[in-house]
């Protein structure tokens, strides 16, 4: 059976993909005032300030950790500078029990949920307190408590998983949904297409949030796709879609709130395309001067999402110069102190090499582990990080 009920024509009739153009939803102007006809979402002062503080915290964390990487304290780092509104504005519109499946640049969503600076640092330094037991590169956070699925580096793999997770939520009938974040680059992967198609067919309560920040490492969006962004693809799957100014925290919040209702109340999957810009380098290993101009970056620096929200808060008399200064100072101090603490902590014990591969360590691996321990005892100086553990370990 075919589900197509299309009109019949008798001469060749093509539809150009360029006809699918999707408008951009905006609420907040750069000066902190609202666009004519736009309405601020129902956000009370507490929540608005929680969003704002998280944006500032994330920015400071990013700046400090990039500096720490430059000083050689940290092997690697990735910033979300410029995209704070897209990530935090959307995360704030969810229920805390909704699942978040992120790509890697969404530290803001995790911070909004309450991940502490200590918890960030433990992962970044891969010390004994890192929930991931020092197995993954920096920024691959995860938190069971905060419903934040641990990050996997292979791009886009989390997108169909989000569809599956959300389908389980639908069956459980617990009124929750899953949001998955990804870049416009990752949206080229087959996994993205599989995820949207399955979500639409099965009517799954999942929100697909594409952070379109213009670049996938060095590849500009124009070399990523020929269409008008990622949003029009939703048409092909018969799915709800909205494009939002990703630097506009109020629009992101409002759009995600509405998307969540569609997902949870009507089992309609939604695609959100947040239009923003990756102000920083792709990662600490990248040098954007090799592929884009300072002028281009400057244009976007003018559209700073944090400043935009701050001006709105100031207009509402919810925020002041003094409070800003104080927040900046305390956060900087906290980040530095926490970093020192985390850096001093020992690495995870040697045993973490072989645990969690399976529920129990299989015999062959146990044997390899015993051999390794004997080897380390023989050459303790060659394995300083684990020599202590091996000596003590039975």
């Amino acid at each position: 059976m075919t589900t197509t009920k299309s009109r019949v024509v008798y001469t060749p009739s093509f539809t150009d993909g360029a006809e699918f153009r999707i408008p951009t939803f905006k609420v907040l102007k750069q000066d902190g005032s609202l666009y004519k006809g736009a309405k601020a979402p129902a956000l009370d002062k507490d929540k608005a300030l929680r969003i704002y503080r998280t944006m500032v915290t994330t920015r400071i964390l990013d700046e400090r950790m990039l500096a720490a990487q430059r000083q050689g304290r940290l092997s690697f780092y990735m910033q979300c500078t410029g995209e704070e509104a897209a990530v935090i504005g959307s995360a704030a519109a969810l229920d805390d029990a909704d699942m978040i499946m992120a790509q890697y640049r969404e530290q803001g969503a995790l911070a909004y949920r309450g991940f502490t600076i200590d918890e960030f640092m433990n992962q970044l330094f891969g010390n004994e307190l890192d929930y991931g037991k020092g197995r993954q590169m920096p920024v691959h956070y995860g938190s069971k408590k905060l419903n934040y699925m641990t990050i996997s580096s292979p791009l886009a793999t989390q997108i169909p998983q989000a569809t599956g997770y959300a389908y389980g939520q639908k069956l459980a009938g617990d009124g929750h949904c899953t949001i998955t974040y990804f870049g416009e680059g990752a949206a080229s992967e087959g996994d993205f297409h599989a995820a949207l198609n399955m979500a639409a067919v099965q009517r799954v309560p999942v929100i697909f949030l594409c952070r379109n920040n213009g670049y996938a490492i060095s590849t500009p969006a124009a070399e990523q796709f020929a269409a008008d962004g990622v949003a029009p693809r939703a048409y092909g799957y018969k799915m709800d879609v909205i494009r939002v100014d990703g630097n506009d925290v109020l629009a992101m919040y409002e759009a995600t709130k509405a998307a969540r209702s569609l997902a949870v109340e009507h089992n309609r999957p939604v695609l959100i395309e947040a239009m923003s810009y990756r102000l920083a380098a792709h990662s600490s290993s990248d040098d954007p001067s090799g592929y884009r101009s300072k002028d281009e970056e400057a244009v976007w620096r003018e559209k700073d999402p944090i400043l935009r929200m701050r001006l709105w808060l100031e207009r509402k008399k919810w925020w002041s110069e003094d409070e800003e200064k104080q927040l900046q100072e305390t956060m900087r101090r906290e980040v530095l102190e926490t970093m020192k603490r985390a850096q001093k902590r020992p690495p995870p014990p040697l045993e973490t090499l072989v645990t969690d591969v399976y529920d129990e360590v299989p015999p062959a691996l146990a044997e390899q582990y015993e051999k390794l321990k004997a080897h380390i005892r023989r050459y303790p100086d060659a394995y300083p990080k684990s020599a202590e553990h091996a000596k003590g370990g039975a």
């Binding site: 092997s75 690697f76 891969g126 020092g134 197995r135 993954q136 590169m137 691959h140 996997s152 580096s153 292979p154 791009l155 680059g185 990752a186 080229s188 992967e189 087959g190 996994d191 996938a216 490492i217 060095s218 590849t219 070399e223 990523q224 796709f225 290993s285 990248d286 090799g290 592929y291 690495p347 995870p348 040697l350 973490t352 090499l353 072989v354 591969v357 299989p362 062959a364 691996l365 390899q368 582990y369 390794l372 080897h375 380390i376 023989r378 050459y379 060659a382 394995y383 990080k385 684990s386």
Partner: protein, 325 residues
């Protein structure tokens, strides 16, 4: 001759191939104007234009599917997979398509022009998704060739041979050596034979075999062993599939002992295949069990990667136990 690091040698090989034959194309994620995240394709777009060297959308199955089609048409694609860890989305295109194109069509069609380059291996603080050595997965697939260079000279000669080979070739580059390994590289075009191992050093007590970045590790281990009076024969396999059984067997006939090392996990690793074949060929000549020094049967760790990796001390210990057996 010019002093080059391995990246420069690879870049030079691509440049040489593209200059000689306009059917040669390079593409993949970020390979265009930026020259790739490791800079292996630097300046190629500037020199040969966007039609022959370009960024693809971020989709590995697309990159290799596209490359298969292009190769079937008669072009000579050199596709880059940014990290060997991300070759798996293209697994179906490689294992079911590239490898079987010729066989299933009775050679009506083939993708012999295809070369796939991917940086592999650990030791760069890359954790479980930037450190894998996936050669054994592909070695199980008839129809592919798998090549791993150990230094800049090998990289250029083997890559040019891979590009000109009439079969699909996976070319795994040891990224730990990209900048660390420097040496003299001929400026002109030259090819090193695929399917042939190279005996780097002759010896009488034990054969030590590896490929890629493990060759450096072997060199250090062998230095230690020789100080203890053990004479080692060192072989770089260079091509994992099809591999050079003759050279390895001939060496083991002489030494009676074999130590094989690779970074990938032990179980199902390619060392197992080598050990099985060599014990079949050389059973009556063996003085000790064939030893495998490999990564552990775990995903690749981050903080404890040093413990996980088969380093020179572990290889040295295996050489010694093999000789003392």
């Amino acid at each position: 001759m010019t002093q080059m690091n391995m990246l420069q040698a690879i870049n030079n090989a691509l440049d040489t191939a593209m200059a000689a034959d306009e059917r040669v194309l390079c593409f993949g994620e970020d390979v265009g104007v930026f020259g790739g995240v490791f800079r292996a394709t630097s300046n190629l777009q500037q020199k040969y234009g966007k039609a022959r060297c370009f960024n693809t959308p971020l989709v590995e199955q697309g990159i290799i599917g596209f490359a298969n089609g292009l190769a079937a048409q008669g072009s000579v694609p050199v596709a880059e997979i940014q990290f060997a860890d991300y070759i798996f989305p293209a697994f179906d295109q490689i294992v079911n398509e590239s490898a079987k194109f010729r066989y299933r069509s009775g050679d009506l069609f083939n993708v012999g022009g295809l070369t796939i380059r991917a940086p592999y291996g650990g030791g760069i603080a890359g954790g479980l998704y930037h450190s894998q050595s996936p050669e054994a997965y592909f070695a199980h697939t008839p129809g592919l060739k798998i090549v791993v260079p150990r230094n800049p000279h090998q990289a250029k000669g083997l890559l040019l041979a891979a590009i000109h080979d009439l079969n699909p070739v996976l070319f795994f580059e040891p990224k730990r050596l990209y900048r660390a390994s420097v040496g003299e590289v001929p400026d002109e075009e030259y090819r090193l034979p695929l399917g042939e191992a190279e005996v780097l050093k002759e010896g009488t007590d034990v054969t030590v075999l590896g490929w890629g970045a493990q060759m450096e590790v072997i060199e250090q281990a062998v230095d230690m062993a020789e100080k203890d009076g053990i004479s080692c024969e060192v072989i770089d396999l260079r091509t994992i599939l099809p591999w050079d059984v003759e050279t390895v067997a001939n060496s083991v006939f002489k030494t009676g002992r074999l130590v094989v090392t690779h970074e990938a996990p032990l179980t199902g690793g390619f060392a197992g295949e080598i050990a099985a074949t060599i014990q079949e060929r050389c059973f009556l000549y063996l003085e000790s069990p064939i030893a495998r020094v490999t990564g552990m049967d775990t995903p690749f760790p981050l903080v404890l990667e040093k413990e996980h990796l088969p380093n020179h001390l572990k290889v040295f210990e295996a050489i010694r136990s093999s000789v003392d057996f």
